[in-house]
Amino acid sequence: MWKILKTRFQQGYRTSDFPNGPSGLPERFRGRPVVSSRPCAAGCSACAESCPTQAIAISADKRVRLDLGKCLFCTECVTACPDGVIAYSADHRLAANKRSDLILSGEEARLASALDEKTRRLFGRSLKLREVCAGSCNGCEAELTVLNNVVFDLSRFGIQFVASPRHADGLVVTGPVTEHMRAALRAAYDAMPTPKIVIAVGACAVSGGPFAGSPQAHDGADSTVPVDLYIPGCPPHPLTILDGMLRLLGRLESPKDPKSVSS
């Protein structure tokens, strides 16, 4: 017992200051990509050709559009572009309500907004989620599990993962929805009482990610269930997931507030 108390003292207080503290993310962390709104001077398509998931398109007026939902946050396009049109910022906020809000083309980020007033009254202070892995590599599960640890401490926001869809207000889906998990995902969704929400976590659940187009998978959660929140990333950082969930619940007010970050 004495040793347990001593170790407890040595371990100290580890919970992050999120959402009020400063960002503890390292220099090389790749957050929201910033796409220049000016037409590309180089006029090539090196960025689009380098992208492993075809997330980049170049319009007729030479403006670059990047689909955050397909993006794996690698460095291929940044390295390929001779003109510096695409760069990564340290901004961890990525989640959006609509799939189309994830297409970046220079304008300001369209971050997720809160649920309608009635649903928010129901879930705003107590949200129970059921996770269904539908073909994920387990990277997104790892980051969802981490939300329960002492650093991120999800339950202080009134959000909890529960064991049964019958106990859940919402479904968190990871993976591109494999053919073999499609029926189980649908069954879990149907088993939840209404009103209910669905959160797609990770590039696979948003767009199929690296498995897009595979005959064994269905290119994301919205192939099978209606999605209320898309959280991109491969996998998304735990803060990105937390930020998305809290925005959906209307717990983070201003989408422009840059200091809602912490380690």
Partner: protein, 489 residues
Amino acid sequence: MSPTSRFRTLRNGGAVELAAIPVVAVEEFRASVLRAAKAGLRLCALFARPVEGGTGLCSVLADDARGFLYTLFSEPTRAFRSLASDLPQAHLFEREIAESSDIAVSEHPWLKPVRMGFPDAAVFFRESGDEVHEVAVGPIHAGIIEPGHFRFQCHGETVHHLEIQLGYQHRGVEALLAGGPDRRCVFVAESISGDTAVGHALAYCSNLESLAGARASLRGEALRAAALELERLSDHTGDLGAMSGDVGFLPVAAYFGRLRGEFLNMLMALCGNRFGRGLVRPGGAAFDLTNAMAEDFSARLARARTDLNAISGLLFESASVLGRFDETGVVSRQTARDLGLVGLAARASGLDLDVRRDHPHGFYRFRHIPVVKIDSGDVYARAMLRHLESLRSLDFLEELIADLPRGAARAACPAPRPGRFAVCLVEGWRGEICHVAETGDDGRFRSYKIVDPSFHNWPAVAMAMRGGEISDFPLCNKSFNLSYAGHDL
């Protein structure tokens, strides 16, 4: 005649001309594999490969004592007589061959789908009798974990038999890689199993290098080894935390959970991603470690060692934890050998196996890491092994980071040459990752075979439960912590 005389000899991470690999009639192929296995060689891979005029078989066996790999092809065939009754480690490979090719496997003791058929439709072994009952769990489980189906035959609390049916996570990984290399392949390799992104990327990139006749830069090799050990540390400490949680020792679960994050955050500092994605690339590493970062890492590793010792001390000195860990979920040494277990699960059952020592490749040729093994084969052995291996990885990393080779982190890696065959084994944190690549006349992958350590080790979870209590299942399962996605591909 030597038991390996029919085979072509290879070193780990090497490549040979396809034409140099003997092609024999299927009966001779069968007899050769059996003879080599009887002589103590271990089956790393056995799979169907497309050839001109049909489908042939390929086997890769390892001589762990001498550090050689042996490979052999069969002529195109439509039928194969199962080896499983004589060589149990072949059983899952043969089920895979039967469902994924046009080769019919005969005389297999339990021929059923591995991942291609709808898992729910599979047939299960059933026991009957007074008070015998069946428990079915999954595909969706209570926690935040991957899907799989577990069917227990129980008498009261006692488990007589467990059958594990996977396949729910099947994404078609090997089919996506065939025809490559293309710009997506390395990302698919990093997504085979999310907690082993570095390990699988390393096997994939090593194959690309050996197919091209290129070499990774020395500094790149060192950085890859550093990332692989950081991955091992994060997963080992994470598992120790999860096992603490499964026996209800919550403070220790919380401390380990936090400690795991320290290793993930070091990977993020190095390459911007907590799982090391984007770091391992053909020719070396895509990110370098600056001197300032190396100093910072040394300090962080020293703190992690202090924390690991303190937290593990609490876990392994607690009588109630030992009461749950000791003699729970035992896999005997004989069973481990018969099933061809690899990695941590094999070493916890007394098998002296480790790719890093037995088949050293990359930076492990220059810097060695002592192998730890424990004989008891129980949950305790698998937990203690994680602690001891973590300490060895910390030693390795501290020395490596203080003395990184100079030069560029990444060298050039041209396109693969046509008509070549490459094998790479990597000791991932779970065990042996095996990638086998073959290029056609156009230099593109004609086939790309992946064997995740979980593929070898899932049957051990079923064996560990025999005679145990069903309430010990979560703890047993966690003590292996196998990948569903890595198995299902």
